[in-house]
């Protein structure tokens, strides 16, 4: 799997846009809305390589903070300047509201691309990059508020271990969120989806990235991944409660969610 991602890292984003016709951006936006992080949230994004989830998290939290600030300003209209100044001192107003995201990926190349993107797009605060394995995370127990893994868990050899690790590093009350390709039950759609996956995607891989084989692997790994209910059961086995899933685009993609109590 590692070799697949080294050759794929640089063209990852271009390929994602081409394969999904840009729709992967919407899926990731929906994930972020579902998460609805409050200020001060500590997020661990696993297999987050090129930073898509991390950047969205930062944007979301920033815009929430801006709204808070606007509301505060409205409320402060009747106060004196002295009182307003003092209230700012107290809050130590942070544009991110103390929210932070740690991006963890097993592949150095993907992290490199992510860091470059962050620099290019101007993301610096509240963001850190860690090399690590989802099956054996380099973090202490009960550390994070939210754990996400977007289009990464299907590349993990022992999914059960990754889920156990996710449980371990989450704080009590923490949330597990997984965005991944899943199974389409509708027979007609399923056939069209298969046709597109097997006929078009490797061709795109060859033409855009010069790499047929990696994208053939990608398509095959999607088919072998456990369907919605099976993944739900696996998440429950790891100890999570209130596990459910939401299908996007008829099951082409699904978001699984669970809580550590």
């Amino acid at each position: 799997v590692n070799q697949v991602f080294e050759s794929v890292a640089k063209k990852y984003d271009v390929m994602n846009d081409s394969m999904t016709l840009g729709i992967h951006r919407i899926w990731k936006d929906i994930l972020m809305h579902k998460m609805n992080p409050s200020p001060g949230t500590l997020l661990l994004d696993v297999a987050g390589g090129t930073g898509d989830i991390a950047f969205r998290f930062i944007n979301y939290v920033r815009s929430m903070q801006e709204r808070r600030l606007q509301r505060k300003l409205k409320n402060h209209q009747n106060l004196s300047w002295q009182e307003i100044f003092e209230s700012y001192q107290k809050d130590k107003f942070n544009s991110l509201g103390d929210s932070q995201v740690v991006v963890c990926d097993i592949n150095r190349e993907m992290l490199k691309v992510g860091k470059q993107k962050a620099q290019h797009l101007g993301y610096s605060e509240g963001l850190s990059w860690v090399l690590g394995n989802a099956e054996e995370l380099p973090f202490d127990n009960d550390k994070f508020d939210v754990y996400t893994i977007a289009f990464g868990i299907r590349n993990v050899t022992r999914i059960d271990l990754a889920l156990q690790e996710a449980y371990r590093v989450l704080k009590p009350g923490g949330r597990f969120l997984c965005l991944e390709f899943s199974h389409v039950s509708n027979p007609l759609l399923s056939r069209l989806y298969d046709l597109y996956s097997f006929q078009v995607i490797p061709v795109l891989g060859e033409v855009i990235a010069g790499d047929w084989r990696s994208y053939q692997y990608l398509v095959e790994s999607i088919r072998q991944f456990p369907p919605q209910e099976e993944l739900k059961a696996m998440i429950e086995d790891a100890g999570f409660f209130k596990v459910d899933y939401e299908n996007l685009n008829f099951g082409i993609v699904a978001i699984h969610s669970g809580f550590k109590l």
Partner: protein, 231 residues
């Protein structure tokens, strides 16, 4: 079973493809090759996916010719590891071997950069296209054309006429797009007509066992094949 075709790898590096995939690859590689001329792999892919008529034709020409037949039997490969560069350099000036080495040095190219075929579904035809690619530098030598854009286009015209490969035809037709008008003029008035005449007049260039002819003077080989002297 979700997949339609089984994994029938006919030669190392072979990727079996359905007709739909070949069509998509042909279209995609054509667009990408025009968009990014540094994607030589796309030109190669285009050649493989569109060569289904021309390649068998070439193979048959080779089969029906004693020297070509020999080549198909022995499957020689032109690679730095198989060429005795020192010996070729020592050959007299004007000989095929000496001029070939001079060409490689002047243009700073190597025969090892040719892509191995992936999408040809017949291992003999895969060899034919491989041979065509490896012989390309010898075409440059025989035609006396450098590896700049102009030289490449001229060689493509020659190859298009000789092989009938759609990829050569497309390359010959679209290659000139990036040339200046002055060069285009030279191309249109002198070089291309000469390349076409030579291509039509010459016997099949794939039927020459070049590896056995390093000592032969280039001019003599040109005459034997029927390539007119370059302008």
């Amino acid at each position: 079973e979700e997949e339609e075709e089984e994994w029938h790898q006919l030669y190392p590096g072979h990727i079996p493809t359905s007709p739909l995939q070949k069509a998509l690859l042909a279209a995609g590689s054509a667009v990408m090759a025009l968009y990014d001329p540094y994607r030589h792999d796309m030109v190669a892919v285009l050649g493989e996916t569109t060569g289904c008529l021309a390649l068998p034709n070439l193979r048959d020409k080779m089969k029906n010719h004693p020297e070509g037949y020999h080549i198909l039997q022995e499957r020689p490969r032109i690679r730095l590891s198989t060429l005795d560069m020192a010996r070729l350099q020592g050959l007299p000036g004007g000989s095929l071997g000496r001029e070939y080495v001079r060409f490689l040095e002047d243009n700073k190219v190597s025969p090892d950069t040719r892509m191995p075929p992936k999408f040809v579904d017949d291992e003999e035809l895969a060899y034919v296209i491989q041979r065509y690619r490896e012989v390309h530098d010898l075409m440059h030598t025989l035609l006396g054309m450098p590896t700049n854009m102009l030289g490449e286009v001229v060689v493509k015209w020659f190859e298009a006429v000789q092989t009938g490969l759609p990829m050569c035809v497309l390359g010959a037709a679209f290659g000139p797009v990036r040339l200046s008008t002055r060069k285009l003029q030279v191309l249109a008035t002198e070089l291309v007509p000469w390349a076409i005449r030579s291509g039509l007049n010459a016997s099949c260039v794939l039927n020459v066992y070049y590896e056995q002819r390093w000592e032969q003077p280039v001019e003599s080989l040109r005459e034997e094949l029927g390539i007119f002297p370059p302008p």
